[in-house]
Each structure stands twice: as C-alpha cells, then as structure tokens.
Symmetry: C2
Subunit: 218 residues, 2 copies
DNA sequence: CGTCGAGTTGATTGTTTTCAACTTTGGTGG
DNA sequence: CCACCAAAGTTGAAAACAATCAACTCGACG
C-alpha cells in the first residue's frame, strides 16, 4: 500500500517517505513534516483526510469563540496520533506548541484495511474518553483540582517520572483548564506552597507528593 | 440476523422483538424496554455490548466525583441512539429522566455488517462532536451563554419549533451546564426579564427571540 | 386542604477574573 | 560575554460572577 503522490504530500517540506510502525499497531506509510512554534498544522473547516503522529515536540487543538475567547481542546505529545475524525470537516485547529515533527498519513490509505480501520477507531474512542474527562473537569472541579489533575495526567503521558518540563505556556494551560493565566500562576504557587510540587523556572516541574496531588482530584 | 436469546435479553421486561429501521440507516432487531423515572439503564463499569435508541421519554448520562459532585455528560431524546462505545467498560451511568421506552440491541449483532458498523461509528463521532462543544461551553462561557446555548440546542433537537417542554429538572440542567440549580433558576428569570424567553410553569418554554438568544452564544 | 418536592428569590460569601504593576526568562546584538 | 529588550510569568488589589445558605412560593397529588 503506497501513498499516492498528492498536491499536499508533495508540498510537505519533508523529503523521505518513512514507514512507521505505531505503538498501537497502526502501520502507516507517511511523510515527516516539521512545524515551527505556533505554526498551524490544520485549521477548523479543513479536510480530515490526513492523520498525524507526533515524532517530537507538542501540539494543541484549539477552538475560538467569535469574540476571541480561546479553548484548548487537547494537547498531543510525542507518540500521540491526532486528527482522526469521521466528520468531513475539522472542528478545531491544530497548532505546533514548539518546534514539532510529525508523520502525516492519508487516512483513506489506511481505512481500506478493516484491521487498520479498527485501530483508527480506537484512537477516536480514546479521544472521546479524554474529552469526557475534560467535561467532568471543566464542569465540576475547582482551579486547584483542575491543575492537579492536569499535572498528574501530563506526568503519566510524558513517562518521565515525577520530574518533567511543561511543553506549553501558562496561557495554553489556562485555556485548556478554562481558567485565566493569573489563576493558573497563582494555583501553581499555591501547590508549591503546600509542598505538592516544586517549580524550577516556570517550565520545569517536579511532583513532590503525587499521592496528595491525586487526592485533590478525588 | 437474529438476536440470540440471552440472559439479559430474556430479562428485558418487554415481550416482543421488533424490527426497527433507524432514521440514520441503522437496522436493528431489538427488544423494547421501559424504565421508570430515575431508573438506571446501565451503570459505569458495565459492559458496552448493548446499544439503545429512545422511543419515548428522555435519558441523562451521568458521572460522579468521589464527593458526590455530579456532571451530566449528555441528554438523549426520542430518536437518539446512545450507548455506542468501543471501550469495553462504560464510563458513565445512563438514567431515565422520566418514564422512558427504549429499543435495546446487541452491538455485536450489528457490528458484523461493515455497513452497519460504519453507521455505529457515525454515532460515536456525533457523540464526540457534542462532547467537544460541551467542553467549549464549560470552559469559556458565562452562565447566561451556557443556558442560551442549551435552550437553542434543545429546541432544535426536539423539533417542536420555539415552544417546548423541558424534559429535565433544573438540577439536571445545572449539572449539565456546570452550574448550581439557583444560578440556572436566576438565569432563566433573567432571560425572561430580557424578553428572550417565556416561561409558563417551570417546564414549558417558548423562545421569544431566538436570534437574540443565538447572539448570546457568539 | 395539606403535604412534599421542585423551583424561585434574597442576602451573603467565596472563588475566580480583571486590571495593573512588577519580575523573571530567554534571545539578540553590541 | 554582557546588556538590553520583549515575551512570559508572577503578584497584588479590586471587581464580578457564581456558589452557598436560607426563606419562601408554586404546583402536583393524596
């Protein structure tokens, strides 16, 4: 199964097609493509025919209200697949948070294999689960619960143990958690004051008492 | 394709198996089953092998935090299919809001037909879309924006024009919108005061200026 | 007609936002 | 290498919004 040369595929700034065996069994032949900080990967309303897997860097999925209020729907980290949707049009915009490399594949090339198709749906299903957890957080948790929950989830996904670098800015975190940047900042300080986390610069974090943090999330 | 008699199918309190041609093309042979107000249809952690379609009544999907805070993930209305998930375990509990009749079908009976399977996923996809809209609402909208958005969406789904009965209590609305019952009540009164809606009793609503309501949602 | 659950309204509190000033960080060029 | 600058982050004070606590009203049903 070869990727057809396409306008978009040819426009990709990567040169070599690479075979990629995804963790979850998704076998994809795609192209690597690099994005610089804040560069758009796809935008709301665009076609959903391409799916992506992050090689390095990080991505945010963003939606805007008419007056500019911003909601970050999700973050994607190295190894994550994103952009899998059955709808024809994208509902959100995807942007690179930092210098980011992704593998791009044409969904229609995968979907012909029912087995691959099933794996694609597994991703959509994971997405739905994350989205539902997000609803619970935004609907019913306080600022400190939101942040604690966020940090624990991030630590787990980054697989770096209890010390890691935040890939995103305070503004991104705020827009993900439905808070303001000031509230995120204050809550970070507060968690640090309680000895639950340790900040070294504003990006590097260590979870000092992960269990106590987890208690905050209920 | 016949439904196998199963422990659960036999336990259903309905007698006749009925063939149902769903609006969206889902062809299902299932059983009808009735639920009384507040009765559980399925609970968190249970198997996802059955899917449901509402014949009459209404259903809420609910998640709870450890301390009892409640989040309504979604409402389902007559004609809606719910309970379609790829995960093995259910993440939320489904409860009848009022006297409710549903058709129950075994997902594994449908999924063998790739065409039916595709239609099932269409539902999951719709669910994801609704969930993402919910995130945007809970993350970034004020109480009056949340309520206006909710009422407009409900009016559209109920297909009764601008006047309809709310199938759910204030508490359910509050738990769906991430507010308290008092805030929902006050916001209703406020929207009425602005001439945007008209309340006749606490259940019957008429949207007097749908366009102005829609403006509130941005 | 009385009771109970649901809903509304009022007063007050508390959390988060807003506005503003200040500090830190990271990158760039002298 | 250091100084400077802009962007990002923090902190403080005040305001706004929604939550909480409490009393009251409405409506359905016996």
């Amino acid at each position: 199964m070869q990727t057809q040369p396409s306008a978009l595929a040819q426009a990709l700034d990567s040169s070599v097609a690479r075979s990629l065996d995804m963790d979850d069994g998704l076998r994809v032949i795609g192209f690597t493509k690099s994005f610089s900080k804040d560069q758009q990967i796809f935008c709301e309303g665009s076609s959903t025919d391409f799916i992506y897997r992050i090689v390095s860097g990080a991505v945010r999925s963003v939606r805007l209200l008419a007056d500019g209020r911003r909601q970050v729907a999700d973050f994607y980290l190295p190894g994550d697949v994103f952009g899998v949707e059955l709808d024809v049009e994208r509902l959100a915009t995807a942007e690179a948070i930092s210098e980011t490399v992704v593998v791009v594949a044409r969904r229609s090339n995968l979907a012909v294999d029912p087995d691959q198709s099933h794996r694609l749906w597994r991703h959509a299903s994971r997405e739905l689960r994350r989205c539902r957890d997000h609803v619970l957080t935004l609907g019913r948790r306080s600022a400190s619960e939101r942040l604690a929950n966020f940090l624990i989830g991030l630590a787990k996904r980054l697989e770096r143990g209890d010390a890691f670098d935040l890939p995103m800015t305070r503004q991104d975190i705020a827009d993900y958690l439905g808070l303001t940047i000031e509230t995120v900042s204050r809550t970070m300080t507060q968690l640090q004051g309680q000895g639950l986390i340790e900040l070294d610069g504003c990006r590097h974090i260590r979870l000092r008492r992960p269990a106590a943090l987890a208690d905050l999330c209920e």
